[in-house]
Amino acid sequence: MDMNEIKEIFFQECEEQLAELESGLLKLNDGDRDPETVNAVFRAVHSIKGGAGAFGLDDLVSFAHVFETTLDCVRSNKLEPTQDVLKVMLKSADVLADLTNAARDGGSVDEARSRTLIRELEALAHGETHAAEPAAPKPVAAAPKPSEPAPVVAKPDVNDEGFQPIPFSFGDFDEEPAAKYVPTCQIIFRPNRELYAKGNEAVLLLRDLSRLGEMSVYCDMDRLPPLDKMNPEEAYFSWKVSVTTDKGEDGVRSVFEFAEWDCELDVRTIEEEIVGEAADDDEPPMQAVPFDLSLLEDGPAASGEEEPVVNESDTAAAIAAADTASKVAQVASRAAENAKAAAAAATAAQANQASAAGQTIRVDLDRVDRLINLVGELVINQAMLSQSVVENDNNGVSSINMGLEELQQLTREIQDSVMAIRAQPVKPVFQRMARTVREIADITGKSVRLITEGENTEVDKTVIDKLAEPLTHMIRNAVDHGLEMPEKREALGKNPEGTVRLTAKHRSGRIVIELADDGAGINREKVRQKAIDNDLIAADANLSDEEIDNLIFHAGFSTADKVSDLSGRGVGMDVVKRSIQALGGRISISSKPGQGSVFTMSLPLTLAVLDGMVVTVAGQTLVVPLTAIVETLQPEASAIHSFGASQRLISIRNSFCPLVDVGRILNFRSTQANPIDGVALLVESEGGGQRALMVDAIQGQRQVVIKSLEANYTHVPGIAAATILGDGRVALILDVDAVVAASRGQPLRQDISLAATG
């Protein structure tokens, strides 16, 4: 793995953390005061900052840092997470997401926005008093250098240890060429028992010290009691060390960086001259009186090893002694180890159990897709095999048939399981919508509350990916056009805060997503007028409420008097409808004046397979998506009525429905088929109306694997995709809406397709 891959992982993780952050903030916004929620939010920002720091993403780090600081105030109960505070935080989460995206894909972010938020966050962190200074993004406080003077003050009892304060002035350095003298540091190091308890080791510290320069060590074992009184966990030794080093006292102290709280440490510098003077006495300066005084116990070790050992050759011995000290502790723990072995084994067994739960792996999407394609081939192959066996086997039940049935079942199960791998909860998309709502609410000055339900409903990843855009557009529409301004709502006796409800649920093998607002509902008079103005309908057309509502799905239709930047953007609900249809889905609207509108989308759970009705038209085998079909019927001569030059209607239960000859539309034949010889498929089509599609015969109902026609050939108007049937032949999947549109005299459009990808 290289850094780029890790960076990729980092950005993936950022996305997860951002989702976590947002959902946590929203929970807080809903009054959740669980400390774990606050912690999770804090951790999310903290993680992003940590990773960003490692990759040197400074913009991200500095913003995350300010954000984190403010969150820490919430975490430590210094800042009450009121609605206003959370508003700033939610916006900050958005900016953090922008910064993350900018760091990944390049591009820029709204500098002014992030600066404003940094100011607001800082103001929150410092209490409500607004930070007066025009706080430019503060660089993150640099990590303290290890060489930073450690806050250990020389112990006052140094004199007891026999050291005299050495006058030291920088003046000396000025006068003399400093480089000539390498100062010597004298160190007294007396570990406490905590030092060992925290996993530090005197021997390692001495080893590090010896790397600073020439070193001599004296180990003082005077405090070591007789064996029977010895506590293996106690610290009895202390060391006196003299190091000739140019690293200075700071360098020495940095060796003890981890240990300085758990030991008595005295470090002082002696200039070589003085050391030399002391050396004149033929006694090393560490031969200190206090140690003699401490000879209260007449331990045998003390008498033998009392002599100060200052020769460098003895350094190793002193280190060995220190080693012994820690070994003692190790022996003690090893004894305990055996005693606890059984208990440990039991805990380990529990641990294994616990870690087995909820394990996941991350797999490259390409691999899953390849698997799905292969399973698709398997399904086709299995169907072909079944068919050829049936054709060649006249005995009816044979062992081969039995085996084939099992194979079929297994294939179906494999297919379902593989599809389940791709299935993902719609949660990430729903969470993105929360941001969309916030942004539009901000711009329009409306107060909006987004309620999401069924976020854990799972659907194929491709569907999820393609869902975001139409959904964003619809949410914009709902807030911008659907909801009224707060004052108006209040005047109408509604809650000034509008509600947009986003729901996902599974219904008969499809996912149904509902978007409901409690706004004004569709202004039918306005829609109708607009449609007349745009020549969409005749001025005297008699339309049902439902038909008027569905007019908003027409191309180029917009009811807003001025096209706002939000929901306008030159595209209308027709684009939404088409993207939903491209996913093999349907969209419908129901609206109640004064109470709001509900958009209902029904989408297939996967784009890889489709339940279809296999039909014959002019000798060709076609597949009609089952979702489009309302019912099938055998027309009777009495039910067929001619209308105009070539149009025909079929009467079904006292209502008339146009007959559409599929063979004519697709140019399979040039003459009209006789409806009585065929079968009519009643389909739901664009605009809510129904049409009866004429086909020659129904072969059966089957699940088919979708193969993209565009990817393998080219787009064919009226055809959505292709599939391979059991007999190995290619069958085309009908694009019902395109065919219906063509029957109304519109040419088959190039841009309509049902499952663009297979």
């Binding site: 903290h46 720091g53 490692a54 990590a143 925290k198 390692l204 380990a348």
Partner: protein, 121 residues
């Protein structure tokens, strides 16, 4: 023999960086995602040194360190705290919990290896 390092961090990014850095430096690396898992893994892995984050779900770094230090079998293992918290208060708490030393993020491979070398023989 390779030295064995147990790393405890909830961030996948940092876990991967630790893994790469430590493996490149010739350590054997075992990883856990939070304090709870860290204590579980500890039982079976018997590491020479532990590197842990502070902010983690379920059981944070402080709790994890205390857990290790309470464990008769493993309490002598050196523990390095790897965290972005550079302020004295956090360091202090980690130390009180029983941390051997610390490495200040942003993550720097050299600093990490240095610190591990410092606390292991």
């Amino acid at each position: 023999m390779k030295k064995k390092v147990l790393t405890v961090d909830d961030s996948r990014t940092i876990r991967n960086m630790l893994l790469v850095t430590l493996n490149n430096a010739g350590f054997e690396t075992i990883q856990a995602e939070d304090g709870v898992e860290g204590l579980e893994v500890l039982e079976t892995s018997n590491p020479d040194v532990i590197v842990t984050d502070i902010n983690m779900p379920r059981l944070d770094g402080f709790g994890f360190i205390e857990g290790v230090r309470r464990n008769e079998k493993f309490r002598a293992i050196p523990i390095l705290v790897l965290t972005t918290e550079s302020d004295a208060e956090k360091k202090n708490r980690a130390r009180q919990a029983g941390a051997t030393g610390w490495i200040v993020k942003p993550f720097d491979p050299t600093k990490l290896i240095d610190a591990i070398e410092r606390v292991t023989a």
